[in-house]
């Protein structure tokens, strides 16, 4: 049965989450630099969310990745595979040595995740706006079976511009899918510019409330806040939960923070060494 989070619930999970977040950032940076490809800005913004989920919230057994009782996690912002693969390796789904093949010829670690190659991946993402509908389907299946597993999906904030999120959000609100949690990585930058300058999301919390969701806003780098809201039992809540996690794109690497060019920018060697020094400090 689910050992990781069971242990975490007995103890204070935050030190482990922080350690894992630090390791995930370092690994993701190394993967991106080795591959000379990737999306480091978004990897760094989503890392604390992933670390909190995998080392403090989700129930799973990496040895039985398809166990019916598992909590489901859907990485809808599928381009942030540096952070995702580093997390799955830390969680024990596959050997860390696999990470060295990231985006290499015939690697199972594609630029965007493939469930048929990698244990722990629930659905193939990459094109934006795909995770939410699939997560809604998972949550409906859980309700049909009166199962107690929960479904978590992370989207980017720019990704919220995709209409399919709102189709899915409307259905989840209508069906009162309390077993579903959406986490929005609100780093305020999309590929080409600031989100608000491109196509305004605000008032984002009001929009999700209007769609029938409970909305909570947190500092997406404060793992205590993340853990409090994500690990809290569903209890009597009758709505799906939207967590707007305010984050910083490129978090942890000074020259990447809040700079749009690091969406898929690749550091040169000097930048890489500086970034590594900052993350390891």
């Amino acid at each position: 049965m689910p050992q990781v989070s069971a242990d975490n619930r007995r103890n204070d999970p935050l030190p482990l989450i922080r350690d894992k977040a630090r390791a995930i950032r370092i690994t993701a940076l190394k993967m991106v630099f080795a591959a000379q490809l990737g999306h480091p800005g978004g990897d760094m913004s989503v890392t604390d969310i992933l670390a909190t989920l995998y080392f403090g919230v989700l129930r799973y057994d990496p040895k039985q990745p398809n166990a019916p009782w598992r909590d489901r996690f859907v990485m809808s912002k599928g381009h942030c595979t540096g952070a995702l693969y580093a997390t799955l390796a830390e969680a024990g789904y596959f050997d860390r040595s696999w990470l060295e093949t990231y985006m290499g010829p015939l690697s199972m670690l594609n630029g965007h995740p493939n469930r048929n190659y990698l244990p722990g991946v629930e659905t193939n993402t990459g094109p934006l706006g795909h995770g939410m509908p699939v997560a809604v389907g998972m949550a409906i299946a859980g309700k049909m079976d009166a199962a107690d597993y929960r479904v978590f999906v992370v989207t980017g904030d720019g990704e919220q511009q995709e209409g399919s999120n709102w189709e899915a959000g409307m259905a989840a609100g209508h069906r009162k899918l309390s077993n579903l949690t959406l986490i929005i990585d609100r780093n305020r930058l999309q590929q080409g510019a600031k989100v608000e300058d491109t196509n305004t999301l605000e008032p984002l919390a009001d929009k999700w409330r209007a769609f029938g969701w409970e909305v909570v806003e947190v500092d997406g780098h404060d793992v205590g806040q993340l853990h409090d809201v994500l690990a809290a039992p569903v209890g009597t809540r009758e709505k799906p939960l939207c967590v707007i996690a305010h984050t910083i794109k490129g978090r942890g690497i000074s020259f990447m923070e809040n700079e749009v060019k690091w969406h898929h920018g690749i550091p040169n060697r000097a930048q890489y060494e500086q970034a590594l020094k900052e993350l390891e400090a």
Partner: protein, 319 residues
């Protein structure tokens, strides 16, 4: 349950789909239906009455509908995602590609009233491009049943296999085809409904009965036409195409675009292995207004039209 339509001896294959899925659902609680406000047009009101908790109506939202199907499959269900073929395939194409085919999920896509079933409503409601779009997606099985018996069998076969399937269901009334006793539907296996060595007509869906009638007309002129029901377009029965090429002349006919569908699939096989004279019958592009019968007539998708195409082809074969 009667699946017969008002016209004696003619059937709406949507009824056969509904009959099959209800019968499957009685025995297997994993069977669920997902629709986009398309309960009636999918003939699923009966299913919904019997199993409201296993019916997911997402409203008019096809992208979500297909994604929800993939999520239900992840939760161990066998979802039949049923909607008008035009909206299911065109609106949700990327979901079909990424969430269903590429993810290789156990989703059964059911394109109802496919082809030109919506006749007068025009090209927005016709689904003649879907064959080209869907047959090239890896992992996705594509089946175009020809009559009520084959529709029921295809629905059952789709439920039995693990993996994504697209069932292209027609609405235009078709008769129950005569088959030898013990005939059995197998995914990926074409069915020779009539033997003949002068020309082969390869058809599927509503065009199979017309191909058989065309073969009757050709027989009256001393031409022996083989009729092959190629109901599975992916994976394709390459052996049956090679065998048909032995006649030296092949006509394909489908209720779909002449580009990229059954005709295209057969041509890909022939061009690279058994080149032989060929005609591809179907629709040329966005269609003018008219009833289904008018459009079939106008574009030569009639027994006479098919027979004429075969005769013309035979003059090329002889030359």
């Amino acid at each position: 349950m009667s699946v017969q339509t008002a016209a004696a001896g003619l059937f709406d294959c949507r009824d056969s789909f509904a009959h099959a899925i209800e019968s499957l659902a009685e025995a297997d609680t994993r069977i669920v239906a997902v629709v986009n406000d398309s309960l009636g047009s999918s003939k699923l009101t009966g299913f919904q009455k019997r199993w409201p908790e296993r019916t997911v109506n997402v409203g008019i939202a096809e992208q979500n509908m297909v994604g929800v199907g993939a999520g239900l499959a992840n939760g161990g269900k066998i979802p039949f995602v049923s909607a008008a073929a035009c909206f299911l395939t065109a609106r949700a194409m990327e979901q079909i590609k990424a969430d269903v085919a590429y993810s290789n999920t156990n989703v059964k896509l059911v394109g109802q009233s496919s082809g030109i079933a919506y006749g007068e409503l025009g090209p927005t409601h016709h689904s003649i491009e879907d064959m080209a779009w869907l047959r090239l997606l890896p992992n996705l099985t594509v089946i175009v049943p020809s009559d009520p018996w084959e529709t029921e069998a295809a629905v059952r076969a789709a439920a039995e296999i693990e993996g994504p399937v697209f069932l292209r269901i027609s609405r235009h009334p078709v008769p129950a085809l005569e088959r030898p006793a013990g005939a059995r539907f197998r995914i990926g296996k074409a069915e020779v409904l009539r033997e003949g060595d002068d020309v082969a007509i390869i058809a599927n869906g509503t065009m199979v009965m017309r191909a058989l009638s065309a073969a009757d007309q050709l027989a009256a002129q001393g031409i022996a036409a083989r009729v092959v029901n190629m109901s599975t377009v992916a994976p394709l029965d390459v052996e049956a195409i090679h065998a048909a090429a032995q006649t030296g002349a092949i006509v394909t006919v489908e209720e779909a675009s002449v580009r990229g569908g059954l005709g295209g699939a057969v041509a890909e096989v022939l061009a690279t292995s058994h080149p032989c004279p060929m005609r591809i019958l179907g629709f040329p592009g966005f269609l003018p207004t008219g009833s289904v019968d008018f459009l079939f007539e106008h574009f030569g998708l009639t027994p006479a039209g098919i027979a004429t195409a075969a005769q013309e082809l035979l003059t090329r074969k002889a030359a």
